[in-house]
């Protein structure tokens, strides 16, 4: 790009220096807070006060931190789900719906099966069935993508709206299996006590957090060390190379999307096993599926980084909720604004991490054309 007599060139870096790997996300967070601050001020709130309350309630108090960890648990799962698919350039953006289906599947197992199972087996069964239903929800988009090349972006997204209405149907529109028969108030039927995990003490943190974090490490290890992980990495870099090397693109595409859906579904099942204990429309309000996409992108599809990013993000959300309890409440949506802007700035910052920017003075171009803009 040439501006006047200054020429700006991008030179790809072979490896990014360590300080930049940290500086880009930190700068993104700072810039996002500034953008959020402008909107806070326009809305008559003090950015400094709002942010200090947001950060202190999400990250410093004991219950703040444990609430954050509790909310982070399903978010880690949706983040892993997005990372698993996105790193192979398969843009599954249906985590939201897959998570709802995981909640439905998990609740089904918790109601229908858990009573007949020993407590030790019941929870894993509930989680597994939740993962299975989440995976099945992405089966159609996965097969379409692999066989016909149908854009998985639009198909997975459209199914989110179907899943949303499905949950609403089960709780508000029918008096079927998933609805509590003992009351006319629309709420989910409670799963068997066998299918629940107790919380830690009086907090909102559940042992599922440990499962989610361990899962992230297992995935990280698996992708680095397994043949399958190697194949997905090759395919991500160059689908043609993968094809020449005899890798089965159809099988890879379908399996990656199914695993991604299963991870999101697991998040929904963890919500059943942990705080909810039923099909709970509360999950529809917090957008953990969409947030998972942001988390995965910020973590640059690194599974271990997903865990950390998810916890940071959950803190924003918990802090955001605390902001509403005040004489001049700040809408909780500020947390979503911050998420969106962090992602936008982080995306823009990528180029500085990947490239060295060179600014040179140039001789005036004699045969000037517009071509170089």
């Amino acid at each position: 790009m040439i501006i006047g007599r200054t020429r700006i060139e991008l030179e790809p870096r072979l490896n990014s220096p360590r300080w930049l790997v940290l500086a880009v996300p930190l700068a993104s967070v700072f810039l996002a807070l500034s953008v959020g601050g402008i909107f806070l001020m326009l809305n008559g709130h003090s950015p400094v006060q709002t942010y200090s309350k947001l950060l202190s309630s999400g990250y410093t108090t004991f219950y703040g931190i444990t609430d954050t960890l509790g909310l982070a648990t399903p978010l880690i799962c949706t983040g892993l789900a997005a990372a698993f698919a996105f790193r192979m350039n398969l843009f599954n953006i249906g985590e939201e719906g897959q998570m709802y289906l995981g909640m439905i599947g998990g609740a089904w197992a918790g109601i229908a099966l858990a009573d007949h199972l020993p407590a030790l087996v019941a929870v894993p069964v509930v989680l597994a069935i939740g993962a299975l239903t989440g995976g099945l929800w992405v089966l159609v988009p996965a097969v379409l993508r692999a066989k016909l090349g149908t854009s998985e972006i639009v198909s997975t997204l459209l199914l989110n709206y179907v899943a949303l209405n499905l949950v609403n149907y089960f709780i508000f529109g029918s008096r079927g299996f998933f609805r509590d028969p003992s009351t006319s108030f629309p709420q989910g039927r409670a799963v068997s006590a066998n299918a629940r995990l107790g919380n830690f003490g009086t907090t909102n943190t559940y042992p599922t957090l440990v499962i989610a974090a361990l899962l992230a490490i297992v995935l990280w290890w698996f992708i680095r060390n397994s043949n399958y992980g190697y194949e997905t990495s090759v395919y991500a870099d160059s689908p043609n190379t993968a094809r020449y090397a005899g890798m089965n693109a159809t099988r890879l595409t379908i399996s990656v999307l199914l695993v991604s859906g299963a991870l999101a579904g697991l998040g929904g099942a963890m919500y059943v096993v942990g705080p909810a204990g039923k099909v709970d429309p509360g999950l529809l309000q917090i957008g953990l599926g969409y947030a998972g996409i942001v988390v995965a992108s910020l973590a640059r599809y690194n599974f271990v980084a997903v865990v950390i990013t998810a916890i940071l993000f959950a803190g924003l959300r918990i802090g955001g909720a605390a902001l509403q309890i005040s004489s001049n409440p700040v809408p909780i949506a500020i947390a979503v604004v911050l998420q969106g802007s962090v992602l936008l700035f982080a995306l823009g910052g990528e180029i500085f991490r990947r490239n060295r920017i060179r600014i040179r003075r140039t001789q005036p171009v004699v045969f000037s054309t517009k071509a170089d803009a």
Binding site: I93, Y161, V162, N165, E350, A371
Partner: protein, 312 residues
């Protein structure tokens, strides 16, 4: 139930189609230049909340729509800077815009949440013409923007296929290197059309709020119409005139659940009916992905690819 109800449903479908046509025209123009902007849903929401707030404050419909257009352009500019200049991933940038737009519209719309629509874009009064059976409600009962939208689709089609800038635009999406070799700036073409597309999407959101919306109800206001518009682009094979046909069909599908509910026809529970437009869209996408359909469609070849000239 009488046939009149279905005529009205169809007329309503045509009315809803205005949003779909505007949004998909915006997407077509953007995508023809090789840039895919998935942020439409977020831009619609921002356009809608802007129109609501301005309409609430000034009761001036045209100012409200104008600012909705500006907001759409601003968001498209963000996408353009990120994807064209900074060469970010277009998919992720679009998704970030959806999240940002959803959050920001909720944030600034909090004070008017649940409040009824302040001003309404009224249909043009055609007098006796609108009383003609069938043709009256279908053709002569819409507001100025709806008619402008139809004209706009005609103009867009003429621009794309009959003018030189339109030719350059299509070439930029299909073979940017050739355009570059001709001495035309690929970046400039992409910027211009991404931002122009954003203007149309912003208008779509603003119009939807003031003509179809009843109250500002957060993300449920648009309820995924932006994604349906994106599917519509594929359906229309990136051609403005086909987008009209598709939009009317999709608009009709979106309206059917409400008609059936209004008529007390309970073949399906309402929640199941609400799924239909999304399932129908998905079904259409599937049919369009068959190899035979694909040959006929012709998506811009370099859609989603950043253009970097091979230097030296």
């Amino acid at each position: 139930m009488n046939s009149n109800v279905w005529v009205l449903t169809f007329a309503d479908g045509i009315s809803i189609a205005t949003t779909l046509i505007l949004a998909s025209l915006g997407a077509i123009i953007t995508e023809r230049s090789g840039v895919i902007n998935l942020g439409i849903e977020g831009m619609l929401l921002m356009g809608a909340v802007t129109a609501f707030l301005v309409g609430d404050g000034t009761h001036n419909i045209w100012l409200a729509l104008f600012l909705a257009v500006l907001v759409g352009m601003a968001m498209a500019t963000v996408h353009a800077v990120l994807t064209i200049t900074l060469r970010s991933n277009q998919i992720v940038s679009g998704l970030a815009l959806v999240i940002f737009g959803t959050g920001l519209s909720q944030f600034i719309g909090k004070s008017v949440e649940g409040k009824p629509r302040p001003v309404r874009i009224e249909p043009i009064d055609f007098g006796a013409l609108s009383d003609i059976p069938i043709i009256g409600p279908v053709v002569f009962n819409h507001d100025p923007i709806t008619y402008l939208t139809w004209v706009g689709a005609l103009i867009a089609s003429w621009y794309l296929f009959r003018t030189r800038p339109g030719l350059v635009l299509r070439a930029t999406g299909d073979a940017p290197a050739t355009v570059d070799a001709q001495g035309v700036s690929v970046a400039a073409v992409r910027y211009a059309h991404t931002i122009a597309g954003g203007a149309l999407v912003g208008l779509a959101g603003g119009w939807f709020m003031l003509a179809r919306g009843t109250a500002w109800s957060q993300a449920a206001t648009t309820n995924g119409i932006g994604w349906i518009a994106l599917a519509l682009v594929v359906f229309a094979a990136w051609r403005p005139l086909r987008a009209i046909i598709g939009a009317v069909l999709f608009g009709f599908t979106l309206q059917v659940p409400y008609t059936l509910q209004g008529q007390q026809i309970r073949i399906f529970p309402p929640e199941i009916l609400q799924m239909l437009p999304y399932l129908a869209t998905l079904a259409v996408l599937v049919v369009l992905s068959t190899p035979r359909a694909r040959r006929l469609l012709g998506a811009p070849t370099m859609l989603g690819q950043p253009f970097v000239r091979d230097e030296r």
